[in-house]
């Protein structure tokens, strides 16, 4: 703990406004130094809009979430090759009758600008040295590290399990001949590039190469965020056969969500199936959470589908149902649908 907290001032220094401005200018300058007659642009951008409707059957509540944002990706190059890349995602997000509402909103009908990912990854270090990531990025843990769920109904419980899905900080990553890894030290401020009341998060995952038919990874997490301390160790795996996928994640750990340390186990198993043209994707998830001191564990089944009409338009639906009646008395049953359009 002591060693992690003493890193805070150094990482914090990376995120003062002057550093970010200097970083942007440096990358812009390097980019303009490309040695070719026509500079290589290497820039992707798209407008990403979505409308989501949530019907919480247990609490008889219907809510909506609208998001409209800019998704960008830029590769920086010099005459001797790539220097790194940048991802920037800024979304205007509006809630309508959303209860409970996510922590970055003030009420159930609030709207705000949300920074999803905003980071640079420096990839031009000497041979054998890792890439260096700086900014707001997804914590490298579990299935989410390889399977991005940003803006989708599909979810691997990343935020719930770790207390945050994305955070500001610095990370090291690389893909080697037989394995890949990503480790990070982040400030625990979630949407703010600063440590709040001593918050921090140390996260890491090492795994086999992500494009294989069988992928296996081990993750670690050690954090203090929102006044809650968390420790997690997890294994995750993916196995693909024909158009089927069998995915799993098992995490063990403890946290101080209820003042004192309590053990928690979390298991996720997913079976998915794609059509041969990959327009239709179906999945079902079985999720178990077991906390020491609770009389019953929490079991959920999540069934979903997505249909990609073309490169722009996607419709997705999911139904998430609690299997065991909780102590509060009502089983959760959430039905959601989302239309997403990228242009």
């Amino acid at each position: 703990m002591g060693i992690f907290k003493c890193l805070q001032p150094y990482v914090q220094r990376c995120f003062n406004e002057y550093s970010l401005v200097l970083l942007s200018l440096s990358l812009g300058l390097v980019c303009s130094l490309a040695s070719y007659a026509e500079p290589i642009e290497n820039f992707r951008w798209s407008i990403d809009g979505s409308a989501r409707i949530n019907n919480n059957i247990a609490s008889d509540n219907t809510s909506r979430i609208f998001a409209l944002g800019l998704d960008t990706h830029k590769v920086f190059t010099s005459k001797s090759g790539d220097i790194g890349y940048m991802v920037g995602q800024l979304y205007f997000t509006k809630l309508s009758n959303q209860t409970p509402f996510p922590w970055m909103f003030d009420d159930k009908d609030d709207s705000t600008l949300v920074v999803r990912e905003a980071h640079v990854n420096y990839t031009a270090g000497p041979a054998g040295m890792p890439n260096i990531r700086l900014g707001h990025f997804t914590l490298p843990f579990g299935l989410e590290n390889n399977l991005d769920t940003n803006g989708r109904l599909l979810d691997y419980n990343h935020g719930k399990n770790l207390g945050a899905k994305v955070d500001w900080g610095i990370g090291l990553n690389d893909v080697l001949d037989t394995f890949q890894y990503s480790v990070s030290y982040t400030l625990g401020g979630k949407d703010e590039p600063k440590s709040i009341n001593g918050s921090y998060a140390v996260t890491g995952r090492v795994g086999s190469l992500s494009y294989h038919d069988f992928v296996f990874g081990v993750s670690l997490y050690h954090a203090e965020m929102d006044g809650v301390k968390r420790k997690r160790v997890a294994i995750d795996w993916q196995y693909y056969w024909h158009t089927w996928g069998l995915l799993g994640e098992a995490a063990l750990g403890k946290d101080t969500k209820q003042q004192q340390w309590r053990n928690e186990q979390y298991y996720l198993l997913e079976v998915n199936k794609r059509s041969v043209d990959e327009q239709l994707k179906l999945y079902t998830q079985y999720i178990v959470t077991n906390r020491s001191g609770d009389k019953k564990n929490n079991q959920l089944v999540n069934i979903g589908l997505s249909y990609q009409f073309n490169g722009q338009l996607e419709l997705s639906m999911s139904s998430r149902k609690q299997l065991i009646t909780p102590e509060s008395g009502k089983k959760q049953h959430l039905v959601r649908a989302q239309l997403r359009y990228r242009f």
Partner: protein, 198 residues
């Protein structure tokens, strides 16, 4: 009504973009290293594959089409040893009965196939075509010489290649179509940038 008109207009005029968020993009770092072991670094060149490219592919390779995920911005990687160009790496997907098959193609500076590796292939017969014997049918060939391996229907391989494919004829057809589209699209879209590198 006004909103509906705007949505319909967007649907009609929208350019081809990636269906997935850009934070999920991953460079085929391990495969580039495998195909070009002397590589010290790589240079990315991103270009837009649009409906006009799609039409040209359909024209050059009748009965063929590009999957919607093949439209939008795509990257050609230049494998480099310091400032020397070793060759090019281009990843393309081809639809199959096992879903999309993604193949990483290594090309030399004359757009001749040097080697290839499967990035994603969920066919149980992948190992049959991952052999040196089958790969030799592609290595050293450019677009014109590879096109001679295509049968008259334009989508399946001829008997010469199928003989090398043993019990995996369908996957061999997929690999051949993917190779032809890769060479064609590389030449159509990236020729200007690649000429500047020399």
């Amino acid at each position: 009504m006004k909103s509906l008109i705007i949505i319909v207009l967007l649907l009609v005029v929208a350019p081809d973009v990636s269906a997935i968020a850009y934070c999920s993009l991953r460079d085929p770092v391990a495969q580039i290293k495998q195909l070009f072991p002397q590589k010290t670094n790589q240079l990315s060149i991103v270009k837009d594959i649009d409906e006009s490219t799609r039409s040209r592919v359909k024209q050059a390779l009748p009965n063929n089409d590009l999957h919607f995920s093949e439209l939008g911005k795509h990257t050609l990687y230049v494998a480099m040893n310091n400032q020397d160009v070793l060759g090019y790496v281009h990843v393309r997907s081809e639809q199959s009965k096992w879903g999309l098959v993604e193949i990483v193609w290594a090309l030399d500076k004359n757009l001749v196939i040097k080697d290839f590796a499967f990035q994603r292939c969920r066919s149980p017969k992948k190992a049959l075509l991952d052999s040196r014997d089958f790969k030799q049918a592609f290595i050293g060939k450019n677009y014109q010489s590879l096109k001679k391996l295509l049968s008259s229907n334009g989508i399946t391989a001829n008997a010469l290649l199928l003989d090398k494919a043993k019990q995996a004829p369908e996957l061999a057809n997929v690999v051949l179509r993917c190779a032809l589209k890769t060479l064609l699209i590389t030449e159509l879209l990236w020729w200007r940038e690649l000429n500047q590198l020399e």
